[in-house]
């Protein structure tokens, strides 16, 4: 009986555990890729909304040409397919800032704010922004689980042999971390 028990324990340690560790690390890695894909899809939806948004507001917002042109240019570059991952992140951050600036600028155009078309677009934009935020949170959670898996014992040993590297979580750009200067917004 004792011999069989010892055989069972050895089998668990030598065979079952490495299989479990390998599979769980692959699962974590795939989860991160899946979450990144979801985030990417949400960002694309946001870019796709920009042409409709610019078209809806440009008649009213005659004084915001540079902002609208910037949004159009960002969208074109993001859709070009020839940007690296780092450039993609930079485009994403700049788009977020441009859309925030647009929201503030809209306050100066009461006719635009009353437009049903614009209200629908604004609701759609709110929804996609919230979904982008959700996708980022989901991505960060997946990355955290992955990093925990590859850095905690005993899976860290398997992770080292598989050459799995720690991944960075999504972080907000430094400019966005600053608290908004509400007084400056009102002066503008």
């Amino acid at each position: 009986m004792g011999t069989w028990l010892a055989v069972l324990v050895v089998a668990l340690v030598v065979v079952v555990m490495p299989i479990w560790m390998y599979n769980s690390l692959i699962t974590n890695r795939n989860q991160v890729q899946n979450a990144f894909g979801s985030m990417d899809a949400m960002l694309k939806q946001r870019y796709d909304l920009i042409p409709n948004l610019v078209s809806a507001v440009q008649t009213y917002m005659q004084h915001e040409r540079s902002l609208l042109n910037e949004l159009t240019e960002l969208r074109t570059r993001a859709a070009s397919g020839s940007v690296s991952a780092e450039e993609h992140a930079e485009l994403d951050n700049r788009t977020t800032r441009a859309l925030s600036a647009l929201r503030v600028a809209v306050e100066n155009y009461p006719d635009l704010k009353a437009s049903q078309n614009f209200l629908q677009l604004q609701a759609a934009l709110n929804e996609i922004e919230e979904k982008v935020g959700a996708a980022r949170r989901n991505y960060n959670r997946s990355v955290t689980d992955y990093n925990n898996a590859i850095e905690t014992f005993p899976r860290s040993m398997m992770a080292a042999s598989m050459r799995l590297q720690r991944k960075p979580v999504f972080e907000v750009a430094e400019a966005e971390r600053q608290a908004p200067d509400v007084k400056a917004l009102f002066r503008a």
């Binding site: 949400m42 209200l119 709110n126 929804e127 979904k131 949170r137 989901n138 959670r141």
Partner: protein
């Protein structure tokens, strides 16, 4: 809904005189069981005294007076049951009048924006589809509310769920019947979504901690649903979340909503089960920690003139209606701007 101060003023002006009259009636119907118990116990004691006075030993008292020792306890039980039965017969009409003439007008005054049907129920198929009722053989609803608060359509009712469990004790099959009274609510959701997200109380995590609870997570239990963990530690300590789509679950359960849910749970003191499904928010409040709903009813042993008895009804109604404000369901700034149907 009216504030507590407004309710107290209404209670004092309108309800108190009628409730005091009903309470007087109820007291007259009380069985005064103790009087009968005292007499029977006195008679029993007297037999002992007389027997001892006649020189009988305890052994003789036990053997010779055995019929007395058997008869008196049976008589005690019989008298108690009979008096309780008579009390129930006499007090039920008083309680029904209390409901019809005091409680129903009170509830309609508290929430004039809702329609109230004391005998009505929402569609029980909604309760079954919500996946919030863990087990049931049959369901029955009553005290049905329906209406709109701001932009949110909602309906809710008291839900009585019955189910049977089978136990095996020493080779014998024993069937136990359970009846659970809770509150079930359906509201139109303020965001559009395609999948399902379910939020349940997390008893395991609160007792044994996060790591152990993760190990115990039974992902297979809900078909198509899997367990996810969110960033808010206070929320995670109270709830566990199952979903079909991780991103959608994060979209619905924003940090703000998680904080609101945590605060709401701590404020109401009842377990709350939620699900986002079919463009609706479903909520189920089962009995919690020895408490039970007697939604919009009073029991025969309650003091009808006690303000706290009616305040309990106020609190239960406030809990149901409060879910709209506490979870910010009237903020509808995403996607389709039209308020959905509940």
């Amino acid at each position: 809904m009216k504030t507590l101060e407004e309710f107290k003023a209404y209670y004092d002006a309108t309800m108190r005189p009628r409730l005091e009259a009903m309470q007087a009636e109820r007291l007259r119907a009380l069985p005064h069981i103790w009087r009968h118990i005292r007499w029977l116990l006195a008679a029993w004691a007297l037999t002992f005294v007389v027997a001892l006075a006649r020189g009988m030993t305890l052994q003789q008292i036990y053997e010779d007076l055995l019929p007395v020792h058997v008869l008196i306890p049976f008589a005690l039980v019989g008298v108690v049951l009979w008096r309780l039965f008579r009390f129930v017969i006499r007090v039920n009409p008083i309680l029904q009048r209390c409901k019809d003439e005091v409680i129903v007008p009170m509830v309609r005054w508290l929430a004039p924006e809702l329609t109230y049907d004391p005998k009505g129920s929402l569609d029980l198929e909604l309760a079954k589809r919500s996946n919030l009722i863990p087990r049931y053989d049959s369901m029955k609803g009553e005290d049905y509310f329906r209406g709109r608060l701001g932009q949110t359509e909602l309906e809710f009712c008291e839900l009585k769920v019955t189910y049977e469990t089978v136990k095996r004790e020493g080779g014998e099959r024993k069937v136990e019947r359970h009846e659970v009274n809770g509150l079930f609510l359906v509201a139109s959701a303020n965001k559009a979504f395609m999948g399902e997200t379910h939020i349940y109380p997390d008893y395991a995590e609160a007792i044994i901690g996060d790591s152990a609870a993760r190990m115990l997570s039974t992902n297979h239990l809900k078909s198509g649903l899997h367990l996810i963990h969110l960033e808010d530690p206070a929320f995670e300590n109270l709830f566990k979340v199952y979903c079909t789509d991780d991103v959608e679950a994060h979209y619905l359960l924003t940090p703000s909503l998680m904080a609101r849910l945590t605060a709401y749970r701590e404020k109401v003191g009842w377990d709350v089960h939620l699900s986002f499904k079919d463009s609706r928010l479903y909520a189920y409040f089962p009995p919690t920690a020895g408490k039970a709903f007697m939604l919009f009813d009073v029991g025969g042993f309650n003091n009808l003139a006690d303000f706290d008895v009616m305040k309990r009804i106020y609190d239960e109604l406030a809990m149901a209606l409060g879910i709209v404000e506490e979870l910010n369901l009237n903020t509808r700034i995403w996607g389709d701007l039209q308020p959905a149907q509940a």
